[in-house]
Amino acid sequence: MSSAHVKTRAPRVGEVAKYTVLSIIALPMVVLPLWVLVVNAFKSETEAATPTVGLPTDFVGLENFATVVNDGNYLVGLKNSLIVTIPTVFAVLLLGSMAAWAFARASSRFLRVAYYVAALSIILPPAIVPMVVLLTKTGLTGSVAGYVFALIGTRLGVIIFLTTGYIRTLPNDYEEAVQIDGANRWQTYWHVILPLVRPVLFTAAIMTVINVWNEFLFALYMTKGTANATLPLTLFHFANAGLYGIRWNLVFAHVILTGLPLLIAYIFLQRQVMSGLTEGGVKG
């Protein structure tokens, strides 16, 4: 990356001071909230009534997690979150990169306008009420299917924008070469374009997974009933279900279980995620 021989080595004292300051910042900013989350998830309801940094004296973690799974509809939420997130992410990546190839190589006015509309969808806020009406008219309201379509339609813009910009920087020699060799359009897309745009798509996939897994606004308007609730929605209903305010121990147990799938994935893919986001395709 950087040429080491030109760079002047920073004095060690400066380095130590920098990391001391960073640690002092990270402590209240990240460590404290996570600590409060974890220790209080293992406390009894009365002990967690005032959430503190103290360790649980009455260790009832397993009961708390069992309550979340049984009364908090955790498994239903998990199932729905998976059947929402997986198809949405794959559809967005596939349809988005296909469209991006077309937009990057197109000269027609229609496709140019379509590209700008897709790019606009990144910054303009979604019009929730008409979307719900549209889903009602098509008989998709309340179901997971309607919610998935709405998510795909509103998340495609980012993928299209990033991938189109990326493909435009690529020469089209590869595409033409394989087409001369007799590859059809689909083969060209699948064997040439898709491998080329993989770095951008990986970055986009990370962002889309995080965004869709945690999505709450659309879920609140578009899904009906416990049977269709995704994890953020089950968490929200569970947190509001307490008669005497929030039961911190149970809410935190739910928060941990809701975040766990992404956290596990992150632990395994941490290196790729970090380098994907710092070196990948995020460039305006």
């Binding site: 990356m1 030109v6 920098k18 960073l22 990240v30 996570l34 409060v36 989350l37 349809l95 469209a99 190839w101 077309a102 937009f103 027609s108 229609f110 496709l111 379509a114 969808s121 910054i123 303009l124 806020p125 979604p126 019009a127 929730i128 009420v129 008409p130 549209l134 795909i152 339609g153 020469p171 020699d173 590869y174 394989v178 897309y189 064997h191 040439v192 491998p195 080329l196 995080i210 945690n214 709450f216 609140l220 308007y221 953020p232 968490l235 929200f236 929030i246 911190w248 809410v251 935190f252 928060v255 956290l263 992150y266 710092t278 070196e279 990948g280 395709g281 995020v282 460039k283 305006g284």
Partner: protein, 319 residues
Amino acid sequence: MTVLDASDVEGAAASAPSTGPIMTPHPPTREPRRRLYLLWFSLPAILLVAFFFAIPFISNAGLAFTQWTGFSSSITFNGLQNFRSLWSLGILGHATYVTIIFAVVTMLAQNLVGLALAKALQQTNRINTFFRSLFFIPVLMSPLAAGYIWAAVLAPEGPVNGFISWFVPGDFTFAWLGQSPSALIAVGLIDAWKWVGLVTLVYIAGLNAIDRALIEAAVIDGAGAWRRFRSIEVPMLAPAFTFNLTLTLVGSFSALDVIFATTKGGPGDATSVLNVAVYAQYGQGLFGTSSALSFMIAILVIVTAVPLIWYLRRKEVVS
């Protein structure tokens, strides 16, 4: 930036030597029929974006000016009536004001902290990677989860006040989320906290994309660290600024989750941003006024983000 390597291209590698282009360029004019595949490839995405973004967005701009409730099947044009009644109820002006404060607090906090962290963690080494990963953990969380955690941390008897109590006489039990000015600032900062790890990574990517030769030339010319930051890095970071400032601003205009998890718009209506007001109107079956408030978010985005993008784009160095 990722450098392209011809060996990455499985299909092409077999037929095209990686030394360079072998094809003579085609003449620019091609018969339109051969390009029809472009339409087929983009059609699914175009339809989905049309159905779930463009058509609802345009309908919303119209429905904002209609009498439309859940109690009657008729939708009739009523001009500015929705905006007038929302204004006289004190909802429109207040929610817009709260949204702007929220968005400004969030955007400033995310970008100032994000840029500072990016400068500190710019070099890729073991310890910096550890800190980057640590600050990235909140990004993985749902904004709801972030809201619940901070509601506990900031509770009157919670850890933050417990810490302050060490330094002030008596029991410090300030309700950060329970009073007017602090609640709005606090929810804005919670939202910023959730995203700052990502903003940091984008700035790091921007900083590392700057040509080292420029920095080294400035060092030779005797420019100090602050001077290099102000005169080289800030201008060269323009694309990262465009990306971060736009997305943090636009994102915070549409915020709802953090507020639903902490204050639910309260105390009173102190944190009732436009999206909270949209939901309240929708919940009462008042779809017309709900659309009007939703349209207000769109107006805010158009009058702030569009000039912002235009301004920042002009600042971007064409390389």
